[in-house]
């Protein structure tokens, strides 16, 4: 091979490698252009800011869920946990504590409840699906009990995380950006992140290597709970009210964003950046459908189709990549372990 051809191939390999890791970028851009073509208002600066604000709650909660799914777990209770946080904030903390203290206390409360999930998964040996299916109902029940199923209006003092503007940037965007970047950093570059990936890749290998498996599992559910609380603080700030059905079914949207972002439900593979892209795509679809005047009844259909389409096509960049780097692949004895990306 000649030198220029080789370097071209390297550049191509890198680009495709990056896109192979995040195939959603292509899908997101495509959707973006489609909506822009239909409705020019879609690409105005104010709408882009709008999309980011709308995506913020999902970005924050999805980051927490990514940690859980990376260990091979799942959290069905995230929506209920957010409601629980909102209920406690609106009916007990408010008026008793200064607004800022009340706001800070909420993520701590949800973190504690979240780690209860983790304790059950880690030490009682109950599958995460069942633990969080149970806690979904318990959390929502506690929230309903505390609020007596009433609705509350949130006073302005508690709305800073939703309404505020920091350095000219809306607070939800700032908070979501910090959470996503920090989350990605922790998962990729810290010992905890490495342990999360190890536990998800093979729990018994991690245990045999002397990793603190139980501690890691509690930690990821605690992170999930913490970020559910943060997401709720932002969401309440934006909505300005709590009602009994708040975030009912939100767990499915969160899991959709995580899976759409390429995190494997078996654990071990995936990441926060992928989830962020998944959350943005879901929001772009929704925002675009609203702006183009589509019937609100089809939103769920479109979301489901996007998820399936993404999963069906996600292998394409990988296949392209393996074709490009075929000269480096090891000869594998079984085709079932065929060439792969990493």
């Amino acid at each position: 091979m000649t030198a220029p051809a080789r370097s071209n191939r390297n550049v191509l390999r890198r680009v495709v490698g990056f896109l192979g890791e995040y195939p959603l970028i292509v899908a997101g851009l495509l959707l973006f252009f489609v909506f822009a073509a239909i409705q020019p208002h879609f690409i105005t600066g104010s709408n882009v800011v709008n999309i980011l604000i709308q995506a913020s709650v999902l970005l924050i909660a999805g980051t927490g869920a990514t940690f859980i799914v990376m260990t091979g777990g799942i959290d069905l209770s995230v929506g209920a946990l957010m409601f629980l946080g909102a209920a406690i904030l609106s009916s007990t903390l408010f008026g008793v504590l200064p607004p800022l203290v009340a706001l800070l206390l909420v993520p701590i409360v949800t973190m504690i409840f979240g780690s209860l999930n983790g304790l059950a998964v880690a030490y009682a040996g109950v599958p995460a699906m069942i633990v969080t299916l149970a806690s979904l109902q318990v959390f929502r029940g506690i929230g309903g009990h505390v609020t007596e199923q009433r609705s509350f209006i949130i006073p302005d003092g508690l709305r800073v995380a939703g309404e505020g503007n920091w350095l000219g940037i809306p607070a939800p965007i700032v908070i979501a950006a910090i959470v996503v970047i920090l989350g990605a950093y922790v998962l990729r570059r810290t010992r905890l992140g490495r342990f999360v990936q190890a536990v998800g890749s093979s729990r018994s290998a991690a245990a045999n290597a002397g990793l603190p498996v139980g501690w890691v599992l509690v930690a990821v559910y605690a992170i999930g709970g913490l970020l559910a609380g943060v997401a709720m603080v932002v969401q309440l700030g934006r909505l300005g009210a709590v009602q009994p059905t708040l975030d009912s079914g939100f767990e499915l949207t969160v899991i959709t964003a995580v899976v759409l972002g390429g995190t494997s439900l078996d654990g071990g593979r995936g990441g926060v950046i992928g989830t962020a892209l998944g959350a943005l795509i879901l929001t772009i679809v929704e925002n675009g459908l609203v702006l183009t005047g589509a019937s609100p009844y089809i939103f769920d259909i479109v979301r489901g189709v996007v998820l399936l389409a993404a999963l069906l096509t996600s292998g394409a960049p990988r296949r392209l990549l393996s074709w490009i780097k075929r000269d480096r692949e090891e000869v594998l004895d079984t085709p079932l372990n065929g060439p792969s990306l990493h």
Binding site: T190, E330, L332, T334, P335
Partner: protein
């Protein structure tokens, strides 16, 4: 003749069941061979531009056992999958009884081809009988499949493979070895004329292994064509009429077993002369590195042993004798009583992290599921136990990526892990031998004083095995104490200073290398006295 000693050894190995010396298959005595059962001509298959099988040509006659030998990655599995109908060849012809191979597994079954895969493909929540007859369930009433009738019909096949558990048992409740026997019974129920065995004995105990080898001989005698894929040269010499040797996807030898010796076969497989046998071991030191006192748990009782610095202590025994369980108890992976000391200092019990800190390392039996992170970069497996020393800000747990990469690279270098796609490739892309080396390097990075290895060479090809032996000898010479668990008697005999034999969860005897031989080990392992 070397060949005959080997045959004899295999028999001694399976004492006391079988006393008749089963000499090499007599070519004149073979049942009349009506043509060719399976015929591969110039078969080629590649995956994504990488050729796995190149121009392979060989044939199997009815009533003949052909062994397919070769190192991992030589293309044996691809051949198995091509004959078994799981893959289609890119070019070339595969004929079954002079007719072109039909496509798909069901069509092949009609042609009489059964493949017994190494990975067990049974339905865990169905009974043994249902699994055995699964391909024939259509013959039963579609409304009410009578369990009694299924059990009656499945029993002969189960008896034939020597399965002594009730046919109504759920497959999920079987051991791996038992499930393997069911898998074979299922293949027999299809009434095959061609059977492909893929390492059928790797998870079996001695008695089961003997039963399966006898079964292969029975099949041959009734005119079935058998393709036998296996790593054990003993088995290949015992049962095959012909050996087809593959290397790098091509056939490099097709010889009557009678004309081969062990070393000529190894040479064909590896493509070069192997260093003779096991490496020399240096004299161990005086200091006791590992002292185990009265360790008991649910599986093992009163384990007492000492391993000196620089000593390799082999642990032999039959499958289920409690060797793995003893290692797990010593390492702290079970709730055990008793004491474990490393260099005179007691190790906190039942806490693997304390064991690691005290200097014990444990290379587990199942490296794919319990040792290496298949989907993560190789680098991450290499550094996972020594990550604490690779942090930039220990309090926050920030990983120093440069230091980590350097550590991983030097570890891989020390044991000469050959990862052609680099250390960022997934663990699962490595060959078995290299995976084992990665797991070993992972543990060596903790600077252990005591290394426990459970079946370190299982499923590893000849060349990589020899390399692992050299590594172990070198580590011992660097005064590491090694506890070596192995089901291969030869390996234990060749690689240990002293050998402990386990039976029924107890350590029933310890022998010096000089006084040990296979017969003594077997006698102890089967509950006899010396």
């Amino acid at each position: 003749m070397l060949h005959h000693t080997l045959t004899f050894r295999t028999i001694a190995f399976s004492l006391p069941k079988k006393v008749i010396l089963n000499d090499a298959p007599d070519p004149d005595n073979a049942p009349e061979t009506g043509g060719v059962a399976v015929d591969l001509r110039n078969v080629t298959k590649s995956f994504g531009g990488v050729s796995a099988v190149r121009g392979v040509t060989f044939a199997i006659a009815p009533g003949e056992v052909v062994a397919l030998a070769g190192e991992n990655g030589a293309g044996k599995s691809t051949i198995k999958n091509l004959i078994g109908g799981i893959l289609r060849a890119d070019s070339g012809d595969i004929n079954v009884f002079d007719a072109p191979q039909s496509s798909g597994v069901a069509g092949l079954r009609a042609q009489g081809v059964s493949t017994i895969h190494q990975e067990i493909s049974l339905f865990p929540h169905l009974s043994v009988a249902e699994n055995v007859l699964i391909n024939r369930l259509g013959q039963y009433s579609s409304f009410n499949v009578s369990q009694r009738r299924l059990i009656r019909d499945a029993t002969p096949y189960l008896e034939r493979v020597g399965a002594h558990f009730p046919p109504s048992t759920l497959v999920a409740d079987l051991s791996t070895g038992q499930a393997q026997l069911v898998e074979i019974a299922k293949a027999l129920a299809d009434d095959p004329r061609v059977v492909v065995f893929d390492e059928p004995t790797s998870s079996l105990n001695l008695a089961e292994r003997e039963r399966v080898l006898t079964l292969v001989e029975d099949l041959r005698d009734t005119g079935v064509a058998v393709l036998y894929i296996g790593h054990s040269l003993d088995e290949i010499f015992r049962i095959s009429d012909r050996v087809v040797v593959m290397r790098d996807g091509a056939v490099v030898g097709d010889e009557a077993t009678f004309d081969l010796t062990r070393s000529s076969l190894e040479q064909l497989m590896v493509g070069r002369e192997l260093a003779e046998g096991y490496p020399a071991l240096e004299k161990p030191g005086e200091t006791i590195a590992l002292r185990v006192r009265a360790v008991s748990d649910d599986f093992v009782h009163d384990i007492e042993l000492e391993v000196h610095e620089g000593e390799i202590f082999g642990l032999a025994g039959l499958m289920g004798a409690g060797r793995t369980e003893a290692a797990r108890a010593i390492f702290g992976l079970s709730t055990a009583t008793g004491t474990v000391e490393v260099q005179g200092r007691a190790v906190r019990r039942n806490d693997p992290r304390a064991a690691i800190r005290a200097g014990i390392a444990f290379v587990t039996e199942d490296r794919r599921d319990e040792g290496i992170f298949l989907e993560r970069p190789i680098r991450e497996t290499l550094t996972v136990v020594s990550l604490d020393g690779l942090l930039r800000v220990p309090f926050l747990g920030l990983i120093d990526r440069k230091a980590e990469r350097a550590a991983a690279a030097s570890q891989a270098e020390t044991l000469r892990v050959s990862a052609r796609a680099g250390l960022e490739a997934q663990g699962g892309s490595l060959s078995g031998g290299n995976q084992q080396k990665v797991v070993l390097s992972k543990w060596l990075s903790t600077n252990p004083r005591v290394l426990i290895l459970d079946e370190p060479t299982r499923g590893i090809d000849v060349g990589a095995k020899a390399e692992i032996y050299r590594i172990l000898a070198r580590l011992a010479s660097e005064s590491l104490a090694i506890l070596l668990i192995s089901s291969e008697m030869e390996e234990v005999l060749g690689m240990s200073h002293r050998i402990g034999v386990m039976s029924g969860g107890r350590l029933v005897g310890t022998l010096d290398r000089a006084e040990a031989d296979q017969a003594k080990l077997i006698r102890l392992a089967t509950g006899g006295a010396l």
